[in-house]
Symmetry: C2
Subunit: 411 residues, 2 copies
């Protein structure tokens, strides 16, 4: 069955894929008619495709197979912690999980991951947190401060630990400052070069073995950011020479995906080639920690049109869910492109710019400004793309409009 381009001569949507597009004029994800699916529940619906999640993970593994070094994937579960998603990943056995809080660790274990397949990379770690983390002897804990090394040493001398370093280089989607984790300005993350001797000494004092080096130097990076990312990885690797017991280098997450028609997908072979040049002869395991890359484009948020109304020079399409259900468009300028589930016409040249607005009493609750849309009416369904990552997991109950259903389409 052919999808998107078959819908009409102008329907070459940039986001269309084998598993996402129009069939008989209706938007489908993983073989499911989304408007029909939406009608099975009340209110907003987050839908995820297990097949797409598996495909994203498979593509990543295929690239990692090229680097000539053992490789591990730790899925960053803060992107999407829906239990069926986690259980499906655990069942497939192709990834571990990276967690950033004790509660995330508990959920990972409850969903079927072994503690040895879980890494913790957190910040602002309290002693209460540490108590819960250290109860798992097989958990990899990446230390973010020298104080954390000391506090682990005081509680669990002799334990194996990871250290998160900050190589002072980093990249982000379109250079967005909000998404920069390492770079010119000092961030809260990781141990800096000047602190390094003290960090090593602190680990020695407590007989802690540093088996893992971690750095996170990207957020949403695409091909255009790859050269800079590679340089940042090189800077991170410079720390490895002081770690005789290190077995794993975690180059962090941040692998990006297209959010706009103008974004080219991440060139994964080039990415792998960069890792190959850095790692092929080192005898180290390479770990990566993707979140969005695994789940974001596997999910859509389905909302229903409540009003279509012209206000001054703008056509507002109001829907029954707001930015509290997927905060990235409003807060991070990372759009969730709205797509009508049953366009009345595929003559996209005749589509008109519309502003799609959520149902939260805040001016910034706008899903898309002046976005070309077909004619829409009350009750129509709209799918918001790329809602599979940092959507439900960051959602709030702002205005008490935080209720939604989540659904994993098995695949």
């Amino acid at each position: 069955v052919s999808l998107a381009p078959a819908a009409g001569p102008d329907a070459g949507f940039w986001w269309a894929r084998d598993d996402l597009g129009f069939k008989d004029g209706r938007l489908h994800l993983a073989g499911h008619d989304l408007a029909t699916l939406a009608a099975t529940v009340e209110g907003p619906l987050h839908v995820y495709s297990e097949a797409r999640i598996a495909a994203n993970l498979g593509r990543l593994h295929a690239a990692l197979a090229e680097i000539g070094a053992p490789a591990r994937v730790y899925y960053a579960m803060k992107a999407n912690r829906f239990e069926p998603v986690l259980r499906a990943l655990a069942r497939r056995g192709l990834s571990g999980v990276d967690v950033c809080s004790p509660a995330e660790m508990d959920r990972a274990l409850a969903c079927g991951f072994a503690a040895g397949d879980v890494s913790f990379t957190g910040t602002g770690v309290s002693n209460r947190d540490l108590g819960r983390l250290l109860a798992q002897p097989d958990l990899t804990i990446n230390c973010d401060t020298i104080g954390m090394i000391r506090r682990i040493g005081e509680r669990s001398p002799g334990r194996a630990i990871g250290i998160r370093v900050n190589p002072e280089l980093g990249v982000s989607y379109g250079g967005a400052e909000r998404l920069t984790y390492a770079g010119d300005a000092a961030t809260k993350f990781g141990i800096y070069r000047e602190q390094w001797p003290d960090a090593l000494a602190m680990a020695r004092v407590h007989d802690l073995t540093i088996t893992s080096l971690h750095f996170h130097v990207g957020c949403g990076y695409l091909t255009r950011e790859l050269e800079a990312w590679d340089a940042a990885v090189g800077a991170g690797l410079a720390f490895v020479d002081d770690l005789p017991d290190v077995r794993t280098v975690n180059v962090g997450g941040g692998l990006g995906l297209p959010h706009r028609s103008t974004d080219a997908p991440l060139d994964l072979s080039r990415w792998a080639e960069m890792l190959r040049r850095r790692f092929a002869t080192r005898g180290l395991t390479v770990a990566v920690e993707p979140g969005d890359y695994i789940v974001k484009d596997a999910g859509v948020l389905l909302l229903q049109v409540t009003d279509v109304e012209r206000k001054r020079d703008v056509t507002f399409v109001s829907v029954d869910g707001g930015f509290n259900l997927a905060p990235e468009p409003a807060y991070y300028d990372l759009p969730c492109e709205p797509v009508a589930c049953q366009p009345r016409s595929f003559d996209t040249a005749a589509w008109r710019p519309m502003t799609v607005a959520g149902n939260i009493n805040e001016a910034l609750d706008i899903w898309a400004h002046a976005h070309p849309m077909p004619e829409l009416r009350e009750g129509d369904r709209i799918a918001f793309l790329n809602a599979g990552g940092y959507g439900a997991s960051m959602s709030s109950n702002h205005c008490m409009r935080g209720e939604f259903t989540e659904m994993l389409l098995p695949g």
Copy 2:
């Protein structure tokens, strides 16, 4: 008992009040030692003072008494929906509640407000929402679109309604674009002048009586914004002449409070004088819809220091709670100033700039940059001011670090 200034010669903190300041070197709110209070719970604690809430409401009523027209306060509960806060307000009987979703309406009713004391002002209102709202005959429903007028008319012909208009003028704290609800650019809120004849006609068709006019033209406004606010109120009032049955004009919320040492408080007598000039001779009830003004400075968020560490040229103070517990500092540039609960010294000239960072794995999770603080150590408590509004109510479980306790100090 004298508070703040008595603590030391330099301790004239801009935020100090009779009920908030240092006593014997320890920060107190409403007579409670905050560090001691924080130690009674595990993890983050939102504390609110009922006495301060009552004082804010009392000050507002005193000003409203000057305008020479009947006045009503509808507390905008999206700012803080903690049930004990709502119950305390209902018990005092000095305000109604404005809600923006059916779930908020249900909570208001459950906490003791009569439906006649509740107004609904929402956007993106679905038919499902309408079903719940219209079940309350005494609820005031402010219509945001012509479509909403029609849909109410179809379901409840003859009902009394309110109409929210957009007077195309508006003000916000420091002119922040994110917080602009009416102004040069078309927003999703309210019915515009060009739509007005159609809106009136639609109400007539369904025999709906327009008893209330609503506009929301400010967000966080202070004295410096008052002239512009007054002009916006004048523009909103221009709609009243076409409404023979109108009894109430709701001039919205948005009354601001100081967030920084450089902010002067809102001059409430000047505000009331402006309302007096607009309303004294009209025979209308004036309604206002404050949220932050009632609750924000009545609440603090209490967190505990996990690490103090120099990274490059920055001293980072990490705490056991992040921006997901109070999103305004990170997302809206509205600071929650951090105050050490037990400063080791009140020689503020010797305090050093520190960056206070939360425990969420995001670069933007910074409570304050380069803020002067006394020496701090692991385990110290920090109070974040102005966390009583849009803190807990907008919180998320991002990174599964969303747990906290809420407490209302009776007063």
